[in-house]
Symmetry: C2
Subunit: 323 residues, 2 copies
């Protein structure tokens, strides 16, 4: 009888692996470096070799597993189990992934994009409490996410579902986004977006602030610097956090107003600001939601941290069984 | 073998009934007046009597049907098949609906709220082309709708899913909404919302306009008057349509940016403005969506008109089979 799951979190620097129980408990985990040389042609063979080595090491065979799940950057074709345009892996053209791993390991394989997979992880054993309706928002270099509605990950007609970073929160005077639009959430709530908001507000702020001084002096300022200063009482930095929270409150409220999830879970590097950020977002969230949503949808900070990828990937593998 | 579906569209003025094939073709339809006297206590017995009478008339028995579906105003409990707080039916307290109809007719029964049911109808045989990802927006006295994502109607944790009218499109200087928030889509895109936008713009518009003159004279102006004048070349009325379309373009774009449906279908009384309104909404929709969504999600006008309710209700009944 099949008893375990394998989750793989494929990133541009490392590939993380986990062996998990069907309940989502991590039993073993390891990582290897991602070798992106020669158009990333070593990546899939390296994954196969590492899996074979570890299964032998642990005395496990293909019959011990329900499936292998993987989260990948780039555009994922879930049916063909291929990845296209994953630039941080040097995979410009379409790369066969699932067919090779299934053939070499003999275990069923499922793949989805990394933000969707992280959403599955947080929903399964993280802040989402395994509820059928959970939205995950990741605030990092960009803003991404995944939407689980009525128990299903929402992909949409062209696979662009869950692109929370491209919700428009500043329709008339927004910053330009890499997508071609103006005023996307990503332009004001990613790590670089927070700094953009700080630069804009610095133009008109009058008063003492180490952060404003650093910006005006042309020093490198990070989103973390802004949050740390705001928590320490810098009122300029606080006004930046207030504005970023306004945008996040508006975007999360609009998602909740139409989808009414049990929770919206905030993850990614910027979410390290924790309760300080969560409570600020919630203030605006409560301003912009209607009564039934206010009392039923919660704003939470992600719980899984570094393991979200392998846990979510294992969750994807667990769904193979039910098909 | 079960071959047909019954759809019931329960409204405050009439109750519409339809007998449909499993493919969604209306074979018979009829309507009765809604008797809301005595706390609406006659409504369910009237439905039962009308169904029994018609089935006898057509020589049909319970074995000819897969199920009965119903769309209802108010707060619907889909599990208990009850309705609470449907004020236009005089149902203030919880009303048993499904248990009585199932007992009297011996046919499985399913119920959902009227906006969700209309969404199912448009998705099934209307503008939605039976695609698994379709959003329906109804612009009438209020703004409502339903979201079908990955084949499922999205209800959310407290049943508030699909409340598209309460998306915030004017976060800082919006009109007050009946829900308690400010700047909801409903306050600017419902029939009365369009007139509110006209009144606001009339304050600063300089130039000749019969619509502006009517507003300034305190005459009754409807959203239809505004659209008719705009199409006839009244530039004040045109500026109102432009502003309303901006809000609808923003709201539909933000839904598409996160859910990437095949289409967003616009229905309800205000949508009678047809292609004139659709193309205006699309202009802003294309401004506010990111590239993958621009080329994959379409803005459409609803096709089913008056029959949407019975067709959607029959669609709900058709899903009983698959359980």
């Amino acid at each position: 009888m099949s008893q375990k799951l394998i989750g793989i979190d494929l990133g541009g620097t490392t590939i993380k692996f986990g062996i998990l129980t069907l309940e989502g408990e991590v039993q073993e985990k390891w990582a290897i470096e991602t070798n992106i040389l020669e158009d990333g042609k070593h990546i899939v063979p390296d994954i196969v070799a590492s899996l074979k080595h570890r299964l032998e090491l642990y005395g496990l065979s293909k019959d011990d597993f329900v499936g292998i799940g993987m989260g990948s950057p780039g555009a994922v074709d879930r049916e063909k189990k291929t990845v296209t345009g994953a630039f941080n892996l040097n995979w410009k053209d379409t790369q066969e992934v699932g067919s090779i791993i299934e053939q070499e390991l003999g275990i069923p394989f499922a793949i989805d994009n990394d933000a969707n997979v992280a959403a599955l992880g947080e929903r399964w054993v993280g802040a989402g409490d395994n509820n059928p309706d959970v939205i995950f928002v990741t605030l990092g270099t960009g803003v991404g996410g995944g939407i689980v509605a009525d128990g299903n990950l929402i992909h949409g007609v062209a696979g662009a579902g869950g692109e929370i970073g491209h919700m428009i929160v500043e329709p008339e005077n927004g910053f330009a986004c890499t997508c071609g639009s103006y005023g996307c959430l990503e332009t004001v709530a990613s790590a670089t977006g927070v700094v953009k908001v700080a630069r804009l507000l610095a133009e008109t702020y009058e008063g003492d602030s180490a952060i404003k001084a650093a910006i005006d002096n042309g020093e490198a300022v990070t989103s973390k610097d802004v949050f740390v200063a705001a928590e320490a009482g810098d009122s300029f930095a606080d006004s930046v956090v207030e504005k970023v929270s306004f945008y996040l409150g508006l975007a999360t409220a609009n998602m909740a107003n139409i989808l009414n999830p049990d929770s919206i879970v905030i993850g990614g590097g910027v979410s390290a600001a924790g309760e300080f950020l969560r409570s600020r977002i919630e203030k605006f969230f409560l301003k912009f939601t209607f009564p039934q949503v206010k009392i039923s949808t919660k704003i939470k900070i992600a719980e899984l941290g570094n393991d979200a990828g392998i846990i979510g990937a294992a969750s994807l593998a667990s769904q193979i069984e039910s098909k």
